[in-house]
Symmetry: D2
Subunit: 474 residues, 4 copies
């Protein structure tokens, strides 16, 4: 309803009643205007009604929703199923154009606008969370692994002679595979043991760059967020090396936006040395379904280059999710989630220490890992440790990992000794748990209860009869 219609409404509803409605409408329009003016994530989250109204407004700006459109092209965003149309708020054109995923689409002004605004809001949030120097970012409908591939393929264009990616070991398949998929050869840098913690072997990276020659190195790929007892990589030291040797540096910040510590180190690394891009998952950091990532960097030109590297259009669905979520959350809501998470990390650590003590175990000292916690495990001659993991899983505990340190694995021709532990020879078997964004105190309580129960049975503190009983229980 525009002004004229409001005026006409007075013939049916008294002006005084309409007055407030009109004020309320103005207040909502102001929200939109401020967003359009400032291109920032709102300080206070919007209510769902305002968000949906805005989305509907945007959808009506796309050609497939024009009342008198007639489409004679090969792609007209016609949607067969009403269910599908509805769940996409009638947005059908996706994002990007054939040449560039960040470009606007002539047929889809609304989708394009949403895409731009989302990128702006994410940039604002990343800056607010600690990486103040961030120059640009790009939300892509790819998860972290494929986003790393895209960054590496972009690097390839600029360094046609490069063959290697230097990679401080982290035992998570997709980042390693990203190197392979992009057509490079990984140079695995084993981690050093520092107390209980596994840290970056900076000297070895230096040695490898020198040995292989900087020009043959496509990039060094470091990692922030990871499972304990590995710590965040020594980003600043690596950034200095990359700067010195002129080698690109790409940071896998998969779920690091939720930790101000990770963000702080990225900011510092960019200050003292070279960081070309840092990549983060949208689902792990912003509580949306799997499927998007944010590629951010300190040089707009590089991020633009990444956008241009993506051939053709792409799904707008992860952008819609993020758009809704950031508007709903607001800067304040996001901050609150981060604070809550931090507090739960402390609580979880403390509660795990309680359980550990009960069974003569201990929580590993990993002060450089702000999210994940590892606890040593008991031995039981008769039952393999993996059984403990399954039991937790079957009791509805998801996300723990039981690591035996004795597994080996071949991935794309590379052999990883001690797979899962980020190390060839980590001294203890352990279990990890993480305090990630959106966790609740109830999650901690339930986990500790179930962990205690499982350990009790596993260590046989209870008599045999009850252990038998446990089988049914599982």
């Amino acid at each position: 309803m525009n002004e004229t219609s409001y005026k006409l409404a007075e013939r049916l509803v008294p002006t005084t009643y309409l007055h407030q409605a009109s004020e309320s409408r103005t207040a909502r329009e102001k929200l939109i205007r401020i967003l359009m003016e400032q291109h920032k994530c709102p300080e206070e989250g919007w209510d769902d009604a305002s968000i949906e109204l805005f989305l509907n407004d945007l959808a009506l700006m796309d050609s497939n929703n024009f009342p008198h459109n007639c489409g004679v092209g090969e792609r007209e965003a016609r949607i067969y199923s009403g269910l599908v149309s509805k769940r996409h708020y009638r947005l059908g054109h996706g994002i990007g154009r054939s040449g560039d995923i960040a470009e606007v689409q002539p047929k889809a002004a609304g989708s394009s606008l949403m895409n731009k605004l989302t990128n702006c809001m994410v940039l604002d949030l990343i800056r607010a969370t600690g990486v103040r120097k961030t120059a640009a970012c790009l939300v892509v409908p790819l998860a972290t692994g494929m986003s790393m591939v895209l960054c590496l393929l972009t690097v390839r264009q600029q360094r046609p002679g490069a063959k290697y990616v230097i990679w401080p070991r982290i035992d998570q398949k997709s980042c390693f595979k990203a190197i392979i998929t992009a057509g490079f050869e990984p140079v695995v840098i084993e981690n050093c043991l520092d107390g209980d913690e596994l840290r970056t072997d900076v000297a070895e990276i230096d040695r490898q760059i020198t040995a292989l020659k900087p020009e043959s190195i496509a990039a060094v790929m470091t990692t922030t967020s990871c499972f304990a007892p590995r710590g965040i990589d020594k980003l600043e030291d690596v950034a200095r090396l990359c700067s010195r040797y002129g080698v690109p540096h790409i940071i896998n910040n998969a779920y690091g936006v939720q930790s101000t510590k990770c963000m702080h180190h990225i900011q510092e690394a960019a200050r003292v040395g070279r960081v070309d891009a840092f990549v983060q998952s949208t689902d792990k950091n912003f509580m949306v379904p799997v499927g998007g990532a944010v590629i951010a960097g300190f040089d707009s030109a590089f991020i633009q280059q990444v956008g241009k590297m993506y051939p053709g259009r792409a799904s707008g669905s992860p952008v819609v999710d993020l758009f809704i979520t950031l508007l709903s959350m607001g800067i304040r809501g996001h901050k609150k989630l981060l604070e809550d998470r931090k507090a739960l990390k402390s609580l979880l650590t403390q509660r795990m220490e309680g359980v550990a003590e009960k069974y003569g175990l201990r929580v590993l000292n990993t002060k450089n890992n702000p999210i994940s916690i590892a606890m040593t495990l008991p031995e039981n001659m008769n039952i393999p440790l993996t059984e403990l993991g399954s039991r937790l899983f079957l009791r509805g505990v998801s996300g723990t990992r039981v690591i035996r340190t004795s597994d080996d694995k071949m991935i794309a021709g590379t052999r990883f000794i001690g797979w899962g532990s980020h190390s060839k020879s980590y001294p203890y078997a352990y279990l990890t748990a993480a305090a990630s964004i959106g966790m609740t105190e109830e999650d901690v309580d339930l986990f500790i209860q179930r962990l205690d129960k499982c350990l009790e049975k596993f260590t046989g503190t209870k008599n045999t009869k009850e252990t038998y009983g446990s089988e049914n229980d599982v």
Copy 2:
């Protein structure tokens, strides 16, 4: 409601009334059972109620929807916004695992099942549409361009020495850029003029393979669906060459599933020669929002390889769209859409011939293009041809292209003379229109009316005054 609950319902509602409800429920469960048994797209489409019920059922199989789940991992599919959760039917885990996009997820049995079933249904449909020999397919949350990249990156692993991709010219940016993004050097094969039509220069492909050596060729990349006056590539001839030289052959079948002709040629090519993969967009062929593609092939191992090449998880959203749409459409619904499209292609051609005649123009004779139609354009000394395109666009006609044949364009270091026309020297300026899936007779009517009106003004059949008037009109 299970049997027990149905039984209990008899205490509130007479058995006789429940009888039919129960039969209806059985009928719906049978639909699901048959799908689970046969792994085929249903012959008759399902109603929305059944589809949503099934989706809800599947969602409840994922850990994030377990009533007593406690999540202590770094990715627990917690969804912040209710709007987002709703639009994904509470599915949050996406598809795939770190190692393989086709793999099932332990935490997400429901999402995994949906993904598998969707792949099965698409395979069934592709076979039913004419490529009966198809061995496997993979629905990926990437549009066509990026899917081509994925195929090429897979090929790279198998042919480490390969440097070139041979590519019969088609003036559409994203497929060309896919070659660049994948890190290969494109070898552009200019098309031959055959009557009005542009066709594959098979002899030149042969020459290039020989000259560059087969082992240095990553693949030949052909195209089926394209804008007239280019025709579908001579797939069978190219397939024979690829077979003879042992060179991979990848077909860009972007919107070809909607044409039995395209599908027939792919089937034939695979019968007489080599086809490694053919790639099609989900939005253009199945009327879903942009964002997915189907990578299909005649050797399951290759398709599996492609799946393994994708590092990490990915958005499940395009799969959800396809899942809903195929269940809703059924084989019969899809067939109907194809028949309607074919009939509209005839109608559109005929109507365009009518307009052409009126203005002394003609529809180009392009019998090898089953979807797109090209019509020559008049000349007007005072107004550039592009203006004609804008006018159509401003009148709500989307999807036409006005081609002047005089444009040049540099893309990633390659210069394309006559950009847009698939040729260095196409003899006529022209305009294209396509009869694509989901088009209606009303679209044809509106287009013809508006085209007529625009041509009338453009050719000045009407007097000057009225032409002036047209400005306001736009």
Copy 3:
């Protein structure tokens, strides 16, 4: 998005692309403006996107959706469940005020506006469908029966001495019960047999009015739409009597809006005599869920009186349904539905005649019933006729009625001989079927097939063995 925001959008999306979006927006705003100006059902239906956008707009005009509202009353339209809020488009205040169901609510300008507009659109549609003289109407969240009660209670205020309601018999419980509920004594007028058809005994009505004295008569209550072989009441004759004696006349037009014949007779009756109100169901005439009715009349004052008779607020849900449906349908869509229905009535009659002939039966000649069709039934010594009805029901035929003419029923102290047949002594047993709005040709086909099959088994045309087999079949 208002003008300012559109202007600001140009910083992110090129003006040319926004141009069309803006035109499209203007087109939609024009739809709303015209509705607000003319207060008429749109000629062409709106698309769902426009409807939802408008509904969201309206919802934001209600106080419960004001961003900074603080509620300290006893009724603040707070909605507990997000599911419930969503399904009501966040409208919570219902319609009406304590004094009058048609009054606007200070807290709910949006809901009030929607209510007013709906009433206007329905009035327009009723006029367009044939009752051109209609002065006012009121959509109430009551089904037909309770709406009749409301009318009768209104009449009671004006005729405190009245005790009786004269009612030409129609065997449908709720209209009879409405008389009782309203506290009146029904005077049942048996129908006359005219050929196969049952028609109003106008002379007997005249006699009763005279005998009981006009001032003791609250109203005569006639019926249009009913099951054959009863025809529409002789509205004009009754209206003349009511006019002559000064007795109110209320017409139960339950599902008569779908028939121009019913509407025509109402218009004529009002022209030649007295009609105080005619009442129609929203579900049966406009294809919405059960729950609303339209009370219409030729004197605005009476309709206003009815609105004031309703004490307190009421559910806005039936109004929302009608609002959406009328906007979606448009005058043209409604007309189309009526034409289709009329054509299907002919088809259904013809097909039933076909079946009748096959079994030596006949379709009753009831030319004054434009919706329902009756067909005589065979006799079978061994199986009661009701069994035939059950069989049809169990085969998924809903809505047929098998009438034996031999049932008796006591309702609220009145004994109805031949209950179900509108007559004490209808000569044949029969089955009815109706061609009502929204029916499809497929419905007719399925019905005829199943009717044929059931009759075949019932009449034993087939041999015994197969008849036995039929038990399983059911």
Copy 4:
């Protein structure tokens, strides 16, 4: 998915992963089974996914959703608009049958089941909230006023000679009008002043019953929840009178379910005397949109009688709302809301006392009103008191009432002196505010701030200039 389909799923997803999904499914089915077994509101609320799944299940039990239904009746629940169908979860048949609103429908086993279960859950909740003796209840799609009419019409059938309804004055239009609409003559009993509080004049009721004769009295209609300074009626005393004289007693408990005090007095009244029915609004007590009420009583036969009095079907929409809400809330959620409300009542009183003190005013002492609070108002020669109300309203405060005690009003022939104050001569002007269910602490804060600000300006504590400024502010 039934067992067979789960089994078949193992061909696509490993059994171990399905195991948990299956357990989760069992857990949900158990929720349904328990509901079907116990017919009670669940102790713990269900999640939205479970609720929607159940609703979808129920919808599929209705004939309009049968896959092979063919409808040839006059009412087949065909729904025109997809938006409408969706918002009703595809339930179209409403509730009730022509004879009885509580009866099950042959065509709609699912809707019928939902209706029955909702009635059971509400009964359970009413008992749990304090009226343990409640024998039966009926959820009707009518707001409180019309529900009172229905009760009175039921009474009329049993007491054909009755003419009067005795009614302790409460200044709220709809309950008074209900008496008129039902065709009775109201006998208004003025309240007595007891300290600040207005209480029932029991002796006068006694006098009136005797004077008019018990058999001419249709019912005494008392009220629990009301605006201060009126207190809850002396239910026990009135119940004793009604028992003694054999006069029906109907209690208007509009928003009293949210107060254990109201519920306690109803229970006590039924214990010591006569209560035929007590009526409560669904929106005010259960936080659903306006449109439903619960008619409850201590004698199942009477409640059944009320159900039978409702002629014809009715909207199922309010039942759907309540069904969803009660499942979502659970007994525990409801209890929590009541406790929170009670605490906020204390807070609100205390904060209002703070404001009152500041301006030399006082909060009236009304200990028999558990929900509403009244505070005296200052005098200002230049500005009428009503202006104060408008100012609060324009500042987004909804629900307060400013009462001058000097208004007169004629309603349906009865003159109310001091309208709005429940009294002919209440000594003070005052303002009311209520602490009702769903209120938040933020509401209290905002209200107090705004009240303070308005009083500040109204009393002119601030200098003239600022008062001027305030005009713009409003």
